[in-house]
Symmetry: C2
DNA sequence: AGCAGATGTTCGAGAACGCCGAACATGTTG
DNA sequence: CAACATGTTCGGCGTTCTCGAACATCTGCT
């Protein structure tokens, strides 16, 4: 899985984030849906931490396979890669799964309001499926 | 001039604006620079109307040729077309020139805050030239 | 009217990118 | 170890982007 040869997952630093790359990453319905689902998982993790329950997406992380996307697996892989290299999500490997988390803090710091705009749009995409 | 065969310039209605198309339109440095210049022309026209002077970009409109862009003319034509069909700008023909204006009202109505985010980024692009 | 210049668009070719199925790599489980 | 599950990589195919060259339309000048 996850190409454990020697290459590590490259994530741009907060200061490295390029507006055009982030917009390009968010300008696709599938990727927008991914972002919306991650935002949902994020808030779920928050409320669960407050209520001390134990299920759900721990830490707001979701594996790639948990998204039921209407594209092939290889295309999904490409979409996650675009989001990661643009700095929209952060990925880490755990066992056979690759966990994804939204980089909300970094995005809010550099482009305040953008995620608040994109997430509802992503939800609308999902609603149309 | 502007292809006066029979096809009129098609502009999407405010309700027709698609988030993904707008983001894709804004995810290019050249187009971002165009938007920033139009925003500048817009505010110039505003202050001039207040002071009753007469020069500058009337009504916040700028002809395609007034942008000194580092791409070929045909590519510029394509960029303006993308912006228009995404609903970011409105174009109208006057004589031999095609005048462009930012659709700020429509964009602010559908995606509030997006232009406020994009315009400074476009200015940064111009500053790097 | 006629012709030259200015402003944009369209066309054709070559490069770059996106999506897919198939094959591969890695980790987990019985 | 074998079967399975999760993702990535590869090669092909179609779409999209960019450019120069040619074309179309309007304005001015003579």
């Amino acid at each position: 899985m996850a190409s454990r040869t020697s290459t590590e997952l490259l994530h741009p630093d907060v200061g490295e984030l390029r507006f055009t790359d982030v917009l390009a990453a968010l300008s696709d319905p599938v990727r927008l849906a991914i972002v919306a689902r991650l935002a949902e998982a994020e808030s779920e993790a928050e409320s669960e931490a407050a209520s001390e329950s134990g299920a759900g997406a721990a830490g707001g992380e979701l594996a790639c396979a948990t998204f039921a996307l209407p594209v092939s697996k290889s295309t999904q892989s490409g979409h996650f890669k675009v989001l990661r290299e643009a700095g929209v999500i952060r990925q880490r490997d755990e066992g056979t799964r690759r966990l994804n988390r939204l980089r909300r803090d970094d995005l809010d710091a550099r482009f305040p309001g953008l995620l608040d705009l994109a997430v509802p749009q992503g939800r609308a995409v999902i609603a149309g499926w």
